[in-house]
Amino acid sequence: MEIPSGEIRLAGERILSEFPMLEHFNRSNSKAFENIAKTVKACADYGRRHILPVALRLDEKLKDEHDYFPWELVRAALPYRLLSLIIPKIVGGQGGLAVLFSLAMEELCAYCPGVGNIIGAHALGIAPLLVCGSITYWEKILREIVCEEKKGNPVLMAAAVTEPSAGTDVEEPNFLKTARLTMSAKKVKGGYVLNGRKCFISNGSVAKYIVLCSATDKSRPLETWTTFIIQKGMDGFTVPRVEIKMGQRVCPAAELSFEDCFVPEENVLSFEGTGMQPGTLLLLAASRAPVGAIATGIARGAYEWFLRWANKSRNGVKPASRQRVQMALAEMKTRIQVSRWTYLNAAMSFDSSMGRAMSSTLLRSLGLIPDSIRTSEIYLNLFNSRLGKRVSGSILSLYAREDEITRALAFASLAKAVGGDTAMHVTSLALEQLGSDICEERLWIEKAFRDAKLTQIYEGTNQLNMLTLFAAEIGKNLRVEMGKLKERHV
């Protein structure tokens, strides 16, 4: 959908007024900034035209029909190209990274976090293909998503990590060592046989492709944690259950069941045993800032509805004329702004390392190769061979150094925790102020309150994120930090 340049410029000005940190983007890479402005504008248009009129009704409908999925709403997102936001340009996507995607998430989630989470979970499924540098699957899957998006057919993705008895454990290397896993992948001739269950998988019941992590040896989960690509309809793969959630209901959380499900060797992303390091850690470094943005969007949405309430006269008095309401509004605004800074800081940190890899000359030069060659079997097999995987992995590690990723993960974990707490605090505060007033604004704020709690839980509970931050930023450098303190105190 073409957005007039004047509207993009206005959107850009609005972003800069709210995110002064992005000024350098505008100066150093005005084209990238224009892309961000265009995306935010597209999300705002989609939100206003398509989400706003149906969000409350859908939430209500899904309370009773929890396995309903609003395909019509997803189809309406296709002209805005929201399914290809982070897909590399060389396969026809928007080429966005964490900054662009985070801002898009905030905008969408201010309207409805459930809808935002459909796009977010889809991107979470795409991200492993990017961070593992799986060129073959860029051509096979990401190109399909882009082509179908242009034709008006949504192809969704999902990522399946959580297991019924291991949630937090599968998102942290040290915890994974002792995790009680139920899912297993047994090596057989030509591939692997999967058995077990995954749970709470966002988009799990509607995705065509699912990126799934499992140990190939449950006695050594960390060393054998492996990432597979699962396709809907594979023998032995079923979706027995869609959960009934308190909030974010539009995005289904499904249980996935595997009974002797054969997955061919070529469906292994990167190599066996690389699922956690670098796989999941890179993925979390990429995804936690956008989750912080989702939470910030929820807080912003609640703030905007609350502001509307505060400016409506009741018995001749506007609540906004009361000091307690003014203080509440100011506190909400403060928290939202702090939350924005933290997620943007994390997203910029990630983009500065992975961004270099994604825009490297070598990767860009692949785009010069004609499509007919890039989609040929020889080309795809070359990049999916051991040599091909090693080469693309080396390119990534050249640009995205381990220490940079660790730092990006620490910032991302901080952003996620701050965002989740902000969303809960702001929605909670707004409801407290409303008292017993039953009004339209209340319906939105109550929904935001229910939606917000999930942001403290998914993508690793906030407590895990805090421990990750400690390990990456404080614990690792404890001796150095203590040494510095000693110098200062003496």
């Binding site: 454990d169 915890f175 308190m246 959380a253 409801l431 102020q433 229910r450």
Partner: protein, 366 residues
């Protein structure tokens, strides 16, 4: 017997045991259902069962005096709220309304209300302009036979039959909390402010408010207890991060904070009850108890969901319900900040009156 119940009297223990039996036998197995799809018939049956153990006439003159009534109200509601805070609030609303009905229509036979054959609901209202009383949330309002409107600090109560043409009711569809109370939004048109109203003293207005607030504090205490028990059980079973959850220090701190919340809530409720019994006026103490207990209920429910992780967010596990109910405890009947301002507003008057009476402020307490 639970945490903080060591000092209960024999009479109070008996009350708790009776209501506990009702909770376990009749309420626990339907608590999720009446929160999700509150069928009026189901609620009516439960209401009659609650009436059979005296829970629908706690504050009635016939129930054995105010002391027993208060204990019934607070301990009973706490125990019912442990299973269903929404249903507990329905019982509370009925009891406060019945108290007003007894006070204002002394000759009428109100036995049917005590037996659970009829239901009353209390509408904490605001005066909208000169001609309408409006109540945003009336727990039990949708299916009540009589609704009692009252603007706190006003000199009138307005009991109205459900069929009264001046009454307008609107069912609140899928509220965040109090679903099992079948809440409604209600308006009563009174051409003139006093039309159809019965005059009451300011002391009785305060009594109604105290009963409502003390009841809400008890409901909140029930939520905190539930949050602690289910979280504690889960933390002992769930293995995470190389240990059972309860083995992690931070998780134990969350549980300890819940236990602290129970102790402080109960102490605040007991203090308010004591002040009420001794002085007859306890509005600031009741407001303080309600604010404290509902805050702890909120934080305990939030931490309870957090301890349960993804399972806490899913309906079938019942923990998310506590969080929704706690939020309504916090913001009903009016914004928590307004309650706090009221406490501060009352305090200077008390200081002034105590000074005038020559009392030692330091000994008087709050």
């Amino acid at each position: 017997m639970g945490l903080g119940d060591e000092l209960l009297t024999e009479e109070e223990r008996a009350i708790l045991e009776t209501v506990s039996q009702f909770r376990k036998k009749e309420l626990e197995n339907v608590a999720l259902e009446i929160d999700e799809t509150p069928e009026p018939e189901k609620i009516s049956d439960l209401f009659k069962s609650a009436a059979s153990i005296g829970m629908c006439s706690c504050l009635s003159c016939a129930s054995g005096g105010a002391s027993a009534g208060l204990s019934e109200l607070t301990l009973g509601l706490r125990e019912i709220a442990y299973a269903s805070p929404g249903f507990a609030v329905l019982i509370l609303s009925h009891n406060v309304a019945l108290l007003a009905l007894e006070h204002t229509s002394k000759d009428a036979d109100l036995g049917a209300f005590g037996r659970g054959e009829k239901r009353a609901a209390f509408a904490a209202s605001i005066l909208k302009g000169e001609g309408t009383l409006e109540a945003g949330i009336v727990p039990g309002g949708w299916n009540a036979d009589v609704i009692v409107f009252h603007v706190f600090d006003d000199a009138f109560v307005y009991p109205v039959e459900k069929t009264d043409a001046r009454l307008k009711l609107e069912k609140i569809e899928n509220p965040l909390g109090f679903r099992a109370s079948l809440p409604a939004r209600a308006w009563l048109s009174v051409a003139q402010h006093v039309e159809g109203g019965t005059e009451i003293s300011s002391e009785f207005s305060e009594t109604l408010q105290c009963a409502l607030l003390l009841g809400l504090a008890s409901v909140a205490s029930g939520i905190t207890r539930r949050a602690l028990d289910v979280s504690h059980s889960y933390a002992k079973e769930r293995y995470q991060g190389g240990d059972y959850i309860i083995g992690h220090e931070q998780m134990r701190i969350y549980l300890a904070e819940m236990a602290l919340g129970i102790q402080i809530s109960d102490a605040a409720i007991q203090h308010a009850k004591d002040v009420w019994m001794k002085r007859g006026q306890a509005l600031s103490a009741c407001k303080a108890a309600k604010c404290a207990a509902s805050r702890f209920a909120m934080s305990s429910a939030l931490n309870g969901v957090q301890i349960h992780g993804g399972y806490g967010y899913m309906r079938d596990y019942g923990t998310e319900r506590l969080m929704r109910e706690a939020k309504y405890c916090q913001s009903y009947p009016k914004a928590e900040q307004e309650e706090l301002l009221d406490i501060v507003g009352i305090f200077p008057e008390r200081v002034a009156s105590q000074r005038a009476a020559g009392r030692d402020l330091c000994k008087g307490g709050f």
